[in-house]
């Protein structure tokens, strides 16, 4: 809810808490949230599910009864569950693994969240997220880069790697 409020305030020209994303302006914050909404509410060519599904944890799935198989075709027709899944994913990206600005006030590390997302997607689909990440603020870009590096290290260290 803090994120939803911050977005509405940003639309009306009020910047979010400077601790969230190092003094981001209201316009940049609005654009960031909108680009993340579009990213997480879209499906990649090889996937049945929207990207937000890959960031749902067990607690959220059980609490909000994600029993439907797939989200509606477009964000404009999403039912409450899928809208919540999208906003929850954005909260995880901005506030870290718990997706809660109050609980993760001191340690907002999104690299773990990005790693979780990238690990669940095929390599050929990483390109779409890399393209989307070019407009993100520096902190998110850095943490996304760390997640990419960690994933590459894991792939190189794999026993199946012929090199």
């Amino acid at each position: 809810m803090a994120l939803e409020d911050a977005y509405i305030n940003a639309v009306h020209g009020r910047a979010p808490d400077p601790q969230w994303l190092s003094k981001i302006s209201s316009t940049d914050f609005r654009k960031l949230v909108e680009s993340l909404v579009i990213l997480f509410s879209s499906r990649l060519a090889s996937e049945t599910h929207i990207l937000a599904v890959f960031l749902l944890d067990r607690e959220v799935v059980e609490r909000y009864h994600f029993c439907r198989h797939a989200a509606e075709a477009k964000l404009a027709y999403f039912s409450w569950h899928w809208s919540f899944a999208v906003i929850f994913s954005i909260a995880k990206v901005i506030f870290g693994k718990r997706g809660d600005p109050t609980r993760s006030a001191l340690c907002r590390d999104s690299s773990e969240v990005f790693f979780e997302l990238l690990r669940n997607l095929p390599w050929e689909d990483h390109f779409h997220i890399i393209v989307a990440s070019r407009t993100w603020p520096a902190r998110l870009q850095d943490e996304f880069g760390l997640a990419m590096k960690r994933l590459e290290r894991r792939a190189w260290a794999s026993k199946r790697n012929l090199a």
Binding site: I8, L75, S83
Partner: protein, 205 residues
Amino acid sequence: MGRTSVAPRQLPMAPRPLRGELVSSWLSRVAAANCISFEELLDALSLVNRWSRCPSECLDMNLDPVMRLALSDFCRVPSEFVSQLTLERQFPGVPKEMFLSFPNFFGVSGCPMTSRVGYAFCPDCLHEAARTGDPCYIPAVWSLALLTHCRVHLRPLHSPCPFASSKSRCSFRALRNPASSVEVRLFRKVEPGETSSPNKCCDGT
């Protein structure tokens, strides 16, 4: 369009638009105050202005200036009031992909209706307004796709009922409550696997 054959040049009852309201919400209240349906109101507007179809594709977004002036004349409010209700004015810069869509494009007569944005809603807000005698309306903020909770009651907003596709999800009828002159009928939440009549509502009517 085309079910209405007679219409006054101006409507006898003209509730004022409220700050932060959707255009379609205001028109629903206007229709209810005049004891006609939302579709009949648009029919009457087209008849008065001799339109074969509404000039605006969406009532809440990109409202055509011709339509805006016609609405302001028909409903007896200054056109600036109508203009202030559009989503571009209330949420400047927000792309239209961020708003919910109303799934019902075809009216009762089977003809295409002018589209409107969709919305999730908070039953507590509507019941509270009906109880206190304030006009019930749909705030524009409820049409944002990424809004999941009511900011007043801190409760999840309700998604549309899948069986309510042929009607407005909340209908405003000037009947039961003379103080508020609005009756709020909220479609009941349907559990998975449950069969339901489309007319069955949460208040049992």
